[in-house]
Amino acid sequence: MASVHELQLSTPDRALADRAAAAAIADVRRIEAKYSRFRKDSVTSAINRSAGRTSVAIDAETAALLRYADRCHEASGGCFDITSGVFRRAWDFKRDPPRVPPADELDALRPLIGWQRVEWSDHEVRLPDAGMELDFGGIGKEYACDRAASICRDQGVAHGLVNLGGDVRAIGGRADGSPWRIGIRHPAREDDAIATVAIHDGAVATSGDYERCFDFDGRRYCHLLDSRSGMPVSCWRSASVVAPIATLAGSYATIAMLLEREAAAFLVSMGVAFFLVAQDMTLSTGGGSDTGASFVVSDETA
């Protein structure tokens, strides 16, 4: 989770704010350590090391995350797949000069992907083939964001905001009763907001092609890879979603990017407010009639 995180807590009690923040941050670190691909002692590494061999015992938290990933897989028609991280071996977004991997490299990796083949239950999980990997990156950060907000609320914070790498979860509105104003980052201009959405409670998450990407031969290649072809999706520059919790908002935004043309229909069927920016910078917004949340486009965008 190498990104900028921010906790804003509004309370007259400074000691309470410090306690709540400390507890929330400790839990975020706990989840990061538990599910990080990069740490040898993480649950993810233990599961991936046993791929093709034995099953690994898991606790209730991991089982709940796997169940959630399974529902995301189903809701997205198979596009959202937490085993598709192996395609990363073919793509290097930091490489200079950038390189588009040849088709045979992607073909070699494809047999290692397939959430539907993973054997999982409430108590254990097994990856059937050696070389298969699970990656909680797509859901872990949003889950940590929601837990951080819950911890702050349980400690007694009534007004606050948790921003974990761009996934935002509100705790009540601002102290004066007005809503939090969440800016949606402009895909091309890092410090500008292309739109704003106001929320009292709930979450806003954005998935964009600009987070990890390179441009090559006039085409943008981003880190969101189609789980079947192994090639990046290219329909939207960014997708933002308002949902009651960050876990859902984040999944909806990611799935929208992966579904490409079908994103709007999917988001409407899920009943959430959304904001999509196309490659040609056309804006589309919809949904959210239940919650009243709506995206207001910034004046500078023309």
Partner: protein, 373 residues
């Protein structure tokens, strides 16, 4: 579209089942975080051909107050003032069928519920006081939810001690007669999908004591009664017409020998400007108690054996038509007005009812004011 709704629902349910995803207060799914105060007024009147019978007017007060994130107290108070004569059903009964009644009933109850993780425990007490009858009851109910919050189990136990003091009983005073009842309840509620919920509850009640009616010339009932009831409710929401269909069925079997079915259907329709319209249709059918005897009175009487000519234990059918209109106002105030019309006759029972029953009709009008905070 239905398949998509199911997937959306499954996704949301899985997200909500992630540990710690919601603050503790929200996690105890049914712990109310808002209070309610409601004032209601009921006006009941019944009549039979040629005669008005009973009228009851009852103001009723109810409050629910969350004391903390996990503790809720609720209570109600009701005062019934009853006037008129009790129902005359038989065309041919001679003698006093029931004296005029001028009565009152005061009743109150209190319930405290504690919510812990995925279960809750409620303890309740109730008291009812009429001129000739006092009832005291206590109850305990334990509820628990499945991890995904789609299923709720309920187990309940209750006990009641009643005392009948009919100083003006038709056959002489009936003094200080006790009655003890124990009830058991088992229930399951299951959320079927994003739009439908089904609930099924079984109750068993066993009582010993005085059951006869002291105001009937000849009425001797067993002093042991067992009742088994099975209630099933099904609610389904239709988003396009913005309405909910509520269906319920209750089967009841009484050791007195009568058994009954009640079928009810309501359509809760949201209309513009915050109004809700709810028409209701209810059909009730009951078989006669084994010691109920048709007129002429006292046909069938065997000294020493139970006997009743009380029409409430005869075989009959009944239809109720009701309509309720509710409107929401600012500050979370709801006002509602409703009327129900009831008609009971022997021949409304499928398969035929007891002979010689006069038609019995009743109507309720109710007003309610509810404030949430």
């Amino acid at each position: 579209m239905a398949a998509t709704d199911d997937r959306a629902f499954a996704l949301i349910a899985a997200a909500l089942a992630l540990p710690g995803i919601l603050p503790i207060a929200a996690r105890a799914q049914s712990a109310p975080d808002e209070g309610v105060v409601a004032l209601r007024y009921y006006d009941y009147r019944d009549w039979q051909p040629g005669a008005d019978r009973m009228a009851v007017k009852s103001p009723y007060l109810y409050a629910l107050v969350p004391l903390s994130e996990s503790l809720v107290v609720e209570g109600s108070l009701v005062y019934d003032s009853v006037s008129g004569a009790s129902p005359l059903f038989h065309d041919t009964l001679s003698g006093a069928s029931g004296k005029g009644i001028g009565d009152y009933r005061k009743a109150g109850d209190l319930k405290v519920t504690k919510y812990v993780d995925d279960w809750s425990l409620s303890a309740g007490a109730a008291y009812s006081d009429e001129q000739d009858y006092i009832s005291r009851a206590a109850s305990l109910e334990w509820r628990t939810w499945s991890d995904d919050r789609n299923r709720t189990y309920a187990i309940g136990f209750g006990a009641a001690k009643d005392r009948i003091n009919a100083v003006e009983g038709v056959n002489g005073p009936v003094l200080d007669q006790p009655r003890e009842t124990y009830d058991y309840l088992l229930g399951i509620t299951q959320v079927l999908n994003a739009r439908a919920v089904v609930e099924s509850t079984i109750t068993y009640s066993e009582g010993r004591g005085y059951y006869s009616d002291p105001y009937k010339l000849l009425d001797a009932r067993p002093n042991h009664r067992r009742i088994f009831a099975w209630l099933t409710r099904f609610n389904v929401r239709f988003p396009r017409p913005d309405a909910t269909l509520q269906l319920s069925h209750r089967y009841l079997e009484d050791s007195f020998g009568d058994s009954s079915h009640m079928l009810e259907a309501s359509w809760v329709q949201q209309v513009r400007q915050g109004f809700t319209l709810t028409p209701t249709l209810r059909y009730y059918t009951q078989s006669a108690a084994r010691f109920y005897h048709d007129p002429p009175f006292p046909q069938g009487l065997v000294p020493g054996e139970p006997y009743t000519a009380d029409e409430r234990l005869s075989a009959f059918g009944a239809v109720t038509l009701g309509l309720r209109v509710a409107k929401e106002f600012p500050h979370r105030i709801t006002v509602d007005v409703g009327a129900d019309f009831y008609r009971q006759r022997g021949d409304l029972r499928i398969g035929g009812g007891s002979p010689g029953l006069a038609q019995f009709s009743a109507r309720w009008i109710e007003f309610g004011l509810t404030r949430r905070f």
